[in-house]
Symmetry: C3
Subunit: 395 residues, 3 copies
């Protein structure tokens, strides 16, 4: 196990280039930057475990904007903010004056006078969520430049139409724990596969996040889905490129079994086909309720053709030694538990239930690390000071 000084030294050796930046897509960050976030998250985790306070904001807000339901990401964001001493405030767009014709540019500044971070979930409309986050980021950057804001709030993507970077980084952190080190991921096979679900319209951001991130650390990533369930083409081609650049590999197959064969890690998870999400976005914008109903019917009928895409005990036997790590961002559609037939057999899920909880548990630390690296020019100096100060978190 690595010691504090080793971790601090490792952090120190990486560039402090995340300062004043947003966290929207992992592929906008260098591998070194991502490593830095992982290391800072690990130090924060250890300090908390050792009952050492990591409070470093005496005041300041973390504002969340949730345009879709959320439990675990909401609590992860609030928990991360609280760990560092920030107050949290949700912008409930239905109760604000935004409907009165206020612009995004204006609102972004109005909520940011004392705001350090704006966390946004916006994954309903394809082509919209990421664009909205960029708009908010540009607005607060302008406000900061113009002296309206005395600090530059960092925008944190809590799930967009394109990426879910706090999720994929938490996933990565769990893989590091599982394989003992980041280098331990090299050559390991990860199957990111579609799975059947009786629900419809699930975002693409989780699989996209995973294939856009894991090949950068040398993993052998296989993306599997039935014909017609492809992801955003640009992200898929990025995944291939990243694999090449970083000694990993990436391929797309149309068989769950093929993906599972010899896999060290499996990540079976449902999503809607890209073209359905496109169509759905059009219909939502047009307010075409009839069209949406019809699309849902079609899509669920299409899904039903692929009920065989379930993570069963039989399929798990295909994995390396029959003991691949099962991952899920939760909540999973568990056959016989949360639905009649779903993404995963109840016995498989139950066996990996605690690991999926552990996986989720890394998210608050990732978010806190994103915050620290974005707001401090030299985060390692603070971490060393916190360790030295050793103020108890409780008691």
């Amino acid at each position: 196990m690595t010691t504090y000084p080793q971790l601090m030294k490792a952090i120190d050796s990486l560039p402090d280039s995340l300062y004043q930046s947003d966290f929207l897509l992992t592929w906008e960050k260098s591998v070194d930057e991502l490593r830095k976030i992982l290391l800072v998250a690990e130090v924060l985790r250890r300090l908390r475990r050792d009952n050492i306070s990591t409070r470093c904001f005496e005041s300041g807000l973390a504002v969340s904007i949730f345009r879709d339901q959320s439990t675990r990401t909401r609590f992860s964001f609030f928990s991360a903010a609280n760990l560092l001493g920030l107050g949290v405030q949700d912008l409930d767009e239905t109760r604000s004056q935004i409907a009165h014709g206020e612009t995004v540019r204006e609102t972004a500044n109005m909520i940011s006078f004392f705001t350090e971070f704006i966390g946004i979930r916006d994954d309903i409309f394809l082509g919209a969520g990421h664009a909205y986050m960029k708009q908010v980021a540009a607005a607060v950057a302008e406000g900061f430049q113009a002296g309206v804001l005395e600090q530059r709030p960092g925008v944190i993507n809590l799930q967009s139409d394109i990426d879910h970077p706090t999720q994929s980084m938490a996933d990565l952190m769990q893989l590091v724990q599982h394989f003992g080190s980041l280098d331990g991921l090299r050559g390991k096979k990860l199957a990111m596969t579609w799975a059947y679900s009786p629900s419809y319209g699930k975002p693409l951001s989780v699989p996209q996040g995973v294939i856009g991130l894991m090949p950068r650390f040398g993993m052998e990533v296989v993306l599997a889905h039935p014909e017609g369930y492809r992801l955003i083409p640009d992200v898929v081609s990025k995944a291939g490129l990243f694999a090449k650049e970083n000694g990993g590999s990436f391929k797309v197959v149309t068989s769950m079994e093929e993906a599972f064969a010899g896999a060290d890690v499996v990540y079976p998870k449902s999503w809607a086909p890209y073209h359905v999400m496109e169509k759905r976005t059009e219909l939502l914008r047009a307010g075409d309720t009839g069209g949406l109903k019809e699309l849902e019917r079609e899509c669920l009928a299409q899904n039903a053709e692929f009920k065989g895409w379930e993570c069963t005990e039989e399929k798990m036997k295909l994995t390396r030694g029959g003991r691949a790590l099962y991952m899920h961002c939760l909540p999973a559609d568990i056959s016989g538990v949360s639905c009649a037939a779903g993404e995963v057999a109840a016995s498989v899920f139950e066996r990996y239930r605690i690991p999926t909880y552990l996986q989720a548990g890394f998210k608050p630390y990732i978010i806190a690390a994103v915050m620290l690296t974005a707001r401090l020019a030299e985060p390692v100096r603070l971490l060393r000071a916190l360790k030295r100060r050793g103020r108890p978190r409780v008691g």
Copy 2:
């Protein structure tokens, strides 16, 4: 008046057995444990009055889950958490993904990574609220054992179908103030009586909480209600047992006047009959709106037969010296103020209005004391340190 050192010594003399425990029913706690909570609450109250900070959490969340409306308990919980330095977060089940088939076991862990306490109000369904709290407690206990959670969140009952322990403990704290000491309660007569209300479906937890707690401190408790308004039989039989074990007494009568005769304390408060709550639970579960309407009609008609069960000036004259302490958990149904005819005459309520506010004011301290004793192995050490440190709360 007791001094700090005396209070600290008294706390020190009682076992530290509340550590890592939940707070669901007062009768799951020993008399010594309840005394410890009262004493810690009293120290916290004095420190705050003396402008000494009692902040002892540098980070951490207190999460609330309200399945029924609440003002005073909600603010009491938030205030208690804030007094100790915790951030607060409400789990709004309508805005989370819980509806998507997520299990209680999973959600409980997902909201608890940095959570110290989960406060729950669930008093709508008979047989459900307490069971739900036990489920949540078991889930976080499992998560803690499995290393998912780095701390064991304590579950705090903010009103269930069975007990309302933060209310009854606040009531007890007021009685201690009123009679000068806990020993001063011995032999005092408390009338916990049903009272007429034009509303329907009021929970049983307040009267149950009172009869399940006060006999343990030697009070002479009389429960009065019309035929057909009985409480959960198991709690009533516990009350009798507690009286026997602790030198108090307990009896059930069917006359408000009989209960008031010579009483030192009266607690007139409406509730729904046990069998109505059972029937209502069935109908609510079945979504039987027609049945619910009919039940409400019947129940209100039945209530109307007992309009004489009002706490009037005449009845107050029956109490010891005509000057019994009037108690209510608020809000009361005040005749001619909040309804045409209700639980209490306006002149009686107005005379005791400030005492009922004082009664409510003990709740945040009780909750804070529950928190401290559940999370610190030796709470007295912290209290002494806080006193010594003497950091101003304001300024």
Copy 3:
């Protein structure tokens, strides 16, 4: 630029008469008291800019009650509270038990056990908002006197039917920055004028707040509106009186051009006519939906007669040197942006957009200064101590 010691000395020279007071109407405060708030706000602003923590509450709540939508005031209130170390809690009246017949007097105490401030927005009903705030203030004052509350919560008007004092004081703070000093306002002409909007029922509190405040600092205030759009008569007469007493001037005209002529500052902003707000209050109380629809129709038709009341480039040319400062409390109805035709031409607004953001940015500091001066007997002692302590706000 003034130094810290100069600012501290200036604060020290003014009476500490705001201690334990509410902040409901600026005209209930003396000019010296308002100057004190401005100076404290300025010191808080500098300390934050210099990364010096101004946290001075170790615990305590700031409670907000919003009876109308709000984004910027909501965030300003939360930000101010957070800057001083207070937790924030919104009283959502729809989710509390207030509907169960609880009185304002009771609720005010129930939410205030650990509460330092209650911020209220209540601007829908003419004759109601200010009255409600007074009721809440009287209730907590009584609770404090009776020992129910251990501190006297201050009530802060976050917009009533009569005044919007945190807005007008933020406006004043911007004018001080703009003209270099408070004395710099003497003799400057400010045009507070009605402007066309396609919406209806906008509160009167902003124009009333401005005309009730600026004449007290020697400004030449001109109020302009079409016939039939008058404000509350009592406030208008106060404005005249204040001008006389403080060396300013005040007059009412019915031409936007006349108001703009030679103005140093223009504040074009829509509001509903006083008599319409009165009528609307009656209809709202009566729940007369048909009547409200009809009133809206009439009012919008009346508004439409005054589409010429737009702040255009042409009108801006009439101001002193064509370069008056344009002010708005936001969000503005911008022609061609948020509506077809509105209060201000897009090019004018765009030119002054950043200044309006800066204007809004003073509000959290004003609120924090109101808080500090209401809760500390000698705020300057704390400010000096904070400066001396020099604890970093971040890092």
